[in-house]
Amino acid sequence: MIPVLSDISFDISEGEFLALMGPSGSGKSTLLNLIAGIDQPDSGSIMIGGIDVTTMSETELAHWRALNVGFIFQFYNLIPVLTAFENVELPLILTSLSRDERREHVEMALKVVGLSDRMDHYPGQLSGGQEQRVAIARAIVTDPAILVADEPTGDLDRVSAEEIMDLMDRLNRESKKTIIMVTHDPRAAKKAHVVRHLDKGILTNAHSQDTL
């Protein structure tokens, strides 16, 4: 077995916007998955908000993710047979909110990403940028403390990518979301407060945007 990540130890402050960069196969996505609780390390611990997520069972992790983490994927991963509204509503099905409360939350999330007028559109009827904004609305609808984004601009044209990064920047600044983003795109990484590089599973020291 080849270790993907080893001897990695670092902290992320609450409200921080961290970009993870590095060549393909360097372990960026694996690290992101570990932080987000969708993968488990062979050894070590990952403390988030004082809780070691590596000790949780599958069910506990699923519950923890639903409450604390919003996910943004490179290929949006929207459910094609559900409308934008229904896609954003998905994480709320797991909560005890009433139908009206869910509607209120979904409308608010879609308003934040500027898609109030596309609620009844299916993913296939939206542009790539709009699909990613729906995905962001789905990520923030439960108001999680952490947003993890795996190449959020990787499948977008330059204009759309800039819109998405502006939106993420706004979520970080205005809503105080802690954002951890994997990206190959230096322009996207510029929005982050801190950039860390991974190469062959080794994490470099953090450096702020001033030194990038």
């Binding site: 519950h63 993710r65 047979v81 559900l82 998905l90 797991l94």
Partner: protein, 385 residues
């Protein structure tokens, strides 16, 4: 958003595939329903038999007759309320393919004993008065377009010759299992004709139908009847009408077992079809289930989504299958009316349809559920359609 909406939307993503699967289930359940109805039709006589009647026949075989004189002795047995008698006539109407059951019966007692055959008093009286008269069941009269007063000629096979009868009545079944395809005429007409022909078969009956007062004493009453004729030249076997009819059904046991096996094989085939459809659908959407898991959907919810989709498909096929079974059974019943006088889709068949469909829906989803639950989210997310 209602979970049911997701289930239906998922089930119909591939409309053609799902549609073909539903049609397969529908056809399979239609076949299953018809086969079960054929089996039920076989047992219809058993179901229709009365607990208040015994049948006495020759102990050697039903084909050997009994003396007519036995009737008075049987009537005197404690617990016996009425005695009637009859012969299987085996007449052919125009052509052998027009088969129907025809009996020479004692007109005075027959309809008193077979109260499930409803006949108006006028028609009964007309039948009693005409030695050449006959009464037919409603379905039989409909089948050949017979009307009251029509003359019908049967060609005798057991009792040779052309036998002329006049229709005097039509009976109707008072319950759904009553056979409405029977043709009955006067045993006296048969017996007197045999006398004229100096036949050796005069004053012999094929079987006695014995009415009893207390069904709980049926066995002891039957034993009492048989003990009367012990060591005589024509010993008897008396049994409940149900046991007597079951004896006939048992002759076709191998065929019924084969039909039953085929009906269950049909269910196994649809299990394979549905399992394939669900497995393909889930495999194609591995990435989406990984997303569901990422969002916090736990094992029960994921299982519910896959199981629900499988059940939506099977139950839709089941609904269409049941809906198609009724007209198909009616058409089949009409076409095969001569062999299956009672051909109704039973409630039990419908319940079996639903139970088997649910079972197939559940079983078909087990492997896809297991695989999806075992799948690592990171692996699932890497799979792109």
């Amino acid at each position: 958003m209602h979970i049911l909406k997701i289930l239906f939307k998922n089930a119909f993503r591939h409309k053609l595939r799902t549609g073909l699967t539903i049609i397969s289930i529908m056809i399979a359940l239609l076949a299953f329903g018809l086969l079960r109805t054929v089996i039920n039709a076989w047992y219809a006589g058993v179901e229709a038999s009365s607990a208040y009647r015994l049948v006495t026949r020759n102990a050697v075989s039903i084909i050997f007759p009994l003396p007519f004189s036995y009737k008075d002795k049987i009537r005197q047995v404690d617990g016996v309320s009425e005695v009637s008698w009859g012969n299987w006539f085996g007449g052919i109407y125009i052509d052998e393919k027009n088969f129907f059951a025809n009996f020479a019966v004692d007109a005075r007692t027959y309809f008193d004993l077979y109260r499930e055959y409803g006949i108006s008093d006028d028609q009964k009286t007309a039948f009693m008065r005409d030695r050449k008269g006959f009464v037919a069941g409603r379905k039989l009269a409909q089948r050949f377009g017979w009307k009251i007063g029509d003359t019908v000629v049967l060609k005798g096979t057991i009792f040779p010759g052309n036998w002329e009868f006049v229709m005097r009545g039509i009976y109707r079944g008072r319950d759904p299992n009553a056979d409405e395809t029977v043709f009955v005429f006067h045993w006296d007409y048969l017996n007197e004709s045999l006398k004229k022909a100096s036949s050796t078969r005069v004053d012999q009956v094929g079987f006695y139908m014995v009415g009893i007062r207390d069904p709980s004493r049926a066995i002891s009453t039957a034993d009492s009847v048989d003990s009367l004729f012990k060591n005589s030249y024509a010993e008897t076997i008396t049994e409940t009408e149900k046991a007597f009819t079951l004896g006939f059904v048992a002759m076709s046991d191998a065929i019924i077992t084969a039909i039953e096996l085929v009906s269950f094989v049909v269910i196994i085939i649809i299990l394979a079809v549905v399992a394939n459809t669900v497995a393909m659908a889930v495999r194609e959407r591995t990435n989406e289930y990984a997303v569901f898991k990422t969002l916090g959907f736990g094992g029960w919810r994921i299982s519910g989504l896959i199981l629900g989709e499988s059940i939506v498909i099977t139950m839709m096929g089941c609904a269409f299958g049941i809906a198609a079974t009724y007209p198909a059974a009616e058409a089949f019943g009409k076409a095969m009316g001569a062999y299956f006088p009672v051909f109704h889709v039973s409630l039990r068949t419908i319940v079996l349809d639903v139970v088997f469909s649910l079972t197939v829906g559940i079983l078909a989803s087990l492997i896809p559920i297991y695989r999806t639950l075992k799948m690592r989210i990171a692996d699932g997310l890497r799979m792109v359609e």
